[in-house]
Symmetry: C2
C-alpha cells in the first residue's frame, strides 16, 4: 500500500510574512518549500543602522536555512521567481547560472514585498539610492563614508561644504531614522578623525512634501520628532516636493540644494506578484485579496504582506512588518486546518500593536493604542522590542553587545567602504598597478 | 620670525608595514600623510575566516583614520597612487571621482604590498579568485555558499557531486587554512541545513606542485598538517602542478577535476612600486633596497614589506607580516633620527619570531626557533597571538566573542551571499520584476 503523496506548500519570499507562514507550518504533514532570491532573511527595521555603520550586514541578515534548520518538513531554495502558471499550479524560478525546474504547488503563499518607487522618475534612482536590501544599505554606507573621504582629500576648502551636504527625500520612519543616525555619526565617531574638515559641520537636509514628519504618527509625536531632529542639526523642510534629482543635487519646491549624496527614503512599489498572477490590483499595483487572504477564484493561492491589498474597517492595512507577520501566521494556520479537514477560520483581522521610530541616540517616538510616548523611555522600549524580535539568539546577543559598545565608546561595528569585487580585477599584471 | 615649514612624510599603503611606520612617527614634529586606496587597514591573517563565514568583513577591516585618530600630526587620505615623480618629490593619487592634487614629500615610504599572481596565466583569474582583499574574501564566500545553494536547488542528484567539489590551488598557509576551514564549515554549520544534499560529502581538493604542504615549515610540521587535513576529509595532491583552469574545472598533473569552485591560493606578485620609481628589482619585480631600506641614490625614499627585496645572511627576507612591521618601525625611527639630526641607525636586521598556520578547529602548527609544535596547544597559542595582534580593543573583543560563540554553537558570524549593489538595479518598474 503506497503512502499518500504529501501536499506541497510553496512560500515565495522569506521576509516577515513568509517566515511567519513557514514557522506556522512547522508541524504540518506536508512538504513546505521556501523560495527566496537571497539566502538570508533580513531584519529590515535595523537596515538604517547598517547604512550608518553601527551594525554589519551579517548582524541583521541571517541565512533562511539556518532559521529553519530544525524544521524537517521544510526545504529552502535560493532562486528568483520569474513567473507563475496558475493552471498547472507551478512557479518558475532561476538562479544566477540557470533556470530551476518548475516548482509545483498545492498551496502557494506569495509574500514578495515591495521595492522602492521613484514616483514615475526612475532616472532619480541613479543619483538617489533607496534603502530596502542589504546591498542598498551597503551602497548608502559607501556613499556616506566616501563623502568625508573626498572632502578630506580635497585641498580647496570652498568645496568642502557642498561635498558634505546630505539630502534625504522622504520624512517617514526611514528618512527620520536615517537622517538622525547620520547626524549622530558625524558628531560622534567621525568628529575627531579628520584634519582638514570638521565632519560635524556636515549639512543634513530632510525633505518631504507632507506638512509634517512621520505622517502615520499622532501630530504631537511628529512635532516632538521634528524638534529632536532640529536639535541634532538636521534641516527639516516640509511641504517641499522634489522636482529634480541629478548628479549635482536636488531641486525641491523651486529651491536648489547642491549635493553629491542624495538618498531616497520616500515611496515603495509592490512586487510583480499581480503580474505573475494576472489578477485584480489596487491603484498601487498590490494584489486585491479576499478576507481569508486568498485570490478570488483561487482558494489555493494566498498573497500576504506589503504586496497584498486588504481593507479593514474601510481603511487599507498599512505596509508594516506586523501586518505581514500576522497574515503569515493566519495563512499557515488556515492551510494546516484545511489539510486536517477542519473548517475555515474566521476572516483575517489585523491587531495593531503600535508603531515606533528612533530619532538619534536615546530618543524615540512610540504610539500604541492611547499611549503616545517620546524620549528616552520610548527609546529603551524600542531597543528592547527590536533586540527581542531578532530571529536568533546569536543575533540578539551580537546586536545588543554592539549597541552597548557603540553607545559608550562611539565606535562603530562596520565602517568599511566596500569596492566591487570582480575576480578579474587583480588578475593581470597590467591591473596590478592599482594595488597599494 | 616665521616658524620652519614642517617636513612632509608620505606613507603609501596602510598594511602592516605602513601602519607600523605611521605609528613609529606619532611624536615626530613633521606632517605625516598616510595614503591608501581603501579606507581600512586589513588584518590579513584572518581573511580566510571571512571567506568561510566565521567573521564578518567589519571584524578584520578597520578604518585607518580610526586607528590613527589620536595621532594629531597624521592625515589619512583615501586615494590610489598612480605614479611618482622622484625629481619633483611628489606622488600622484586619485579616487573614484577625480585625481587629487599631487602630494609632495620630503620622505616617502612605499609599503604597497602584493597582489596574487597567476604565474603567466591571467586568464585563470576569471575562474579561480585569489584571497588578498576583503572584496576577494567576500567573492570566495559567495562562491562557497552558492555551490550548496545550487546543489540544493538541483533536482538531479547525479550533478550534486560535481557541484560540491572545491579545488584549492596552492598548499601554502592560505591554501591549508582555507581548505581546512571549508572542511569544518561543511561538517558543522551546514551539516543539518539541507534536505536534498549532504554538505559534509563535499569534495575538497588541495593541489600543489611542491612535494609537501606548508613548504616554509619544518618537514615534521608539514607531515602533521597533511595528516590533519586528510583526517578532515581534504584530498591533498602534491607534486601536482596546474596546467589549466576553466569554467568547468582544473587539469593538474594530467588529471582532470570537474569543479565550479576553484580558488587560487598560490603565487603573489609585488605592487608596481618599482615601475613608479623606475629602479632595480629582483627577479620577482620587487624593489631592491639598501640595508637601511632606502632606494639606491635616494636616501629620502624607503620601500618596505612584501614589495621590497632585501637579503639577510644570503637569503631573501620572506614576505610575511613580521618583516613588514619590523621594517616599518625601523624606517619610522630612522626618519625620526634624521629629523632630529642624529646619526643613522645600524642596518636593518629581521628578528624571526616564527610562523603559524591553522588546520581546522583546534589544531595548528607553530614553529619558532627550535620549538616545533602541532596540535591543540599550538592552536591556543595561535588564537591568543592573533586576538592580541588585532589593531583595536573593539576588534579583539568582537573576534574573541565570535570565536567562542562559533566554537561552541557551530553558528557563524556572517553567512550572507552578497549581490552586487547598483543604484539602478531596483529603480525602474521593469526591473522590479526581480524582487521577492
Amino acid at each position: 500500500m503506497a503512502a499518500a503523496v504529501p501536499k506541497k506548500i510553496v512560500i515565495v519570499g522569506a521576509g516577515f510574512g513568509g517566515m511567519a507562514a513557514a514557522k506556522a507550518l512547522r508541524k504540518v504533514a506536508a512538504e513546505v518549500i521556501v523560495v527566496d532570491r537571497n539566502n538570508h532573511h533580513l531584519f529590515q527595521p535595523l537596515l538604517y543602522q547598517v547604512a550608518t555603520s553601527v551594525l554589519s550586514p551579517g548582524q541583521i541578515g541571517i541565512p533562511i536555512r539556518g532559521i529553519l534548520r530544525k524544521q524537517q518538513n521544510t526545504t529552502v531554495i535560493m532562486g528568483e521567481v520569474t513567473d507563475i502558471d496558475k493552471e498547472r499550479r507551478c512557479i518558475f524560478a532561476s538562479d544566477a547560472d540557470r533556470s530551476h525546474a518548475a516548482i509545483e504547488y498545492d498551496y502557494l503563499v506569495l509574500a514578495t514585498g515591495v521595492t522602492h518607487s521613484y514616483f514615475g522618475h526612475p532616472e532619480f534612482g541613479k543619483f538617489a539610492p533607496g534603502l530596502k536590501s542589504l546591498a542598498d544599505a551597503v551602497a548608502i554606507r559607501n556613499k556616506i563614508l566616501q563623502v568625508f573621504e573626498q572632502a578630506e582629500a580635497e585641498e580647496d576648502p570652498s568645496r568642502h561644504r557642498e561635498l558634505m551636504t546630505f539630502v534625504l527625500v522622504g520624512a517617514g520612519p526611514t528618512g527620520v531614522e536615517l537622517a538622525s543616525a547620520i547626524a549622530v555619526l558625524v558628531r560622534t565617531t567621525l568628529r575627531t578623525e579628520f584634519r582638514r574638515i570638521d565632519p560635524s559641520s556636515a549639512r543634513i537636509v530632510l525633505l518631504d512634501r507632507s506638512p509634517r514628519v512621520l505622517m502615520p504618527f499622532a501630530e504631537t509625536l511628529s512635532t516632538a520628532a521634528k524638534r529632536r531632529l532640529e536639535k541634532l542639526g538636521v534641516e527639516v523642510r516640509l511641504g517641499s516636493g522634489v522636482d529634480q534629482i541629478d548628479e549635482d543635487g536636488v531641486t525641491a519646491a523651486g529651491a536648489r540644494i547642491a549635493s553629491k549624496a542624495v538618498i531616497w527614503t520616500a515611496g515603495v512599489a509592490p512586487s510583480p506578484a499581480a503580474t505573475w498572477l494576472n489578477v485584480e490590483t489596487d491603484h498601487a499595483g498590490r494584489v486585491r485579496v479576499q478576507n481569508d487572504l486568498t485570490v478570488a477564484g483561487h482558494p489555493e493561492i494566498f498573497v500576504i504582506g506589503d504586496t497584498a491589498a486588504l481593507d479593514q474597517d474601510g481603511n487599507p492595512l498599512p505596509g508594516v512588518a506586523q501586518v505581514a507577520m500576522q497574515q503569515g501566521r493566519y495563512v499557515g494556520n488556515l492551510i494546516d486546518r484545511r489539510l486536517r479537514g477542519k473548517s475555515a477560520p474566521a476572516p483575517f483581522r489585523y491587531a495593531d500593536k503600535g508603531s515606533m521610530a528612533v530619532v538619534g541616540k536615546g530618543f524615540a517616538v512610540l504610539q500604541t493604542g492611547r499611549i503616545h510616548l517620546s524620549g528616552y523611555l520610548a527609546w529603551l522600549g524600542w531597543a528592547f522590542i527590536h533586540v527581542r524580535a531578532l530571529a536568533q539568539p546569536g543575533m540578539r546577543l551580537s546586536v545588543f553587545l554592539q549597541w552597548v559598545w557603540t553607545y559608550f565608546t562611539g565606535q562603530r561595528g562596520d565602517r568599511l567602504i566596500v569596492k566591487d569585487s570582480s575576480p578579474m580585477r587583480e588578475a593581470t599584471p597590467a591591473r596590478a598597478a592599482s594595488i597599494h
